[in-house]
Symmetry: C2
Subunit: 146 residues, 2 copies
């Protein structure tokens, strides 16, 4: 019997169990539940969002889990200046614009030019490696501009 598949979107989702194994994480029902939630959320979530959406997992566990996932590069963490961290499962790496007035956020389907990332890796004096980056744009949304 084939593994469980959830393919509502066109591209189909990566199997989170395989993803966990690839990164040498134990496959627990809590990790699977959290990752699948993030995978279906299609946008940045706070710890509280996740803990509410997946009540079978303790909130402290969500904190610990996401720290590991971010370190492993599975999950993208970003800071919208709302006082709490946001976490996103990204099929295609991208960033966001945030309204400094109301906090509204919009995805920016673009990432840094590879040449820029290379430049940083090359230029640094004190770093052995540069693994990932976070980028947020801040502005005023059309609603707040009026």
């Amino acid at each position: 019997m084939a593994k469980k598949q959830q393919c509502e979107s066109g591209v189909g989702h990566v199997d989170v169990r395989s993803l966990l194994q690839m990164h040498a994480f134990k496959v627990t029902k809590q990790r699977v539940a959290v990752l699948e939630h993030l995978q279906h959320a299609h946008g940045p979530c706070t710890i509280e969002d996740i803990a509410h959406a997946v009540p079978a997992v303790n909130q402290v566990t969500v904190y610990r889990m996401l720290k590991q996932f971010v370190d492993a590069g599975i999950i993208y963490q970003t800071d919208f200046r709302s006082g709490k961290a946001y976490f996103e499962f990204q099929e295609h790496h991208h960033h966001h614009v945030v309204c400094t007035s109301c906090g509204a956020q919009e995805a920016v389907e673009a990432c840094l030019p590879a040449s820029f990332v290379d430049h940083v890796s090359t230029q640094t004096k004190h770093f052995a490696s540069v693994a990932h980056h976070a980028l947020e744009f801040f502005g005023t949304c059309k609603r707040c501009a009026k």
Copy 2:
């Protein structure tokens, strides 16, 4: 008599009083003290750093002040994932690499290509304007890599 000048560095520092007036801020001794501290710090500072370095200013006032300065674009705010916000007076706009192991940070004397920023301003559907951005690189420093 000429205005007080502090020119230890080659380029000389902007007069913070003029800077405050340009942005329609009242020129208070607290604001001057905090801005001058940041100007001389030559690197990102936390609220606690500033409150300790400038004990004549209440820590809550530092919080409120920096929020205004960041909104006005006078001060650059960034998140190194240490749990607290960092603030920097930047003569030349730049970003940082942060070690995910020990938290060490290094300046990256480069900024986003203007074409990339333009692309974001153009692409956004819901934003009236994009004023600034924050960018952090994460990696492993040479000390921790060993």
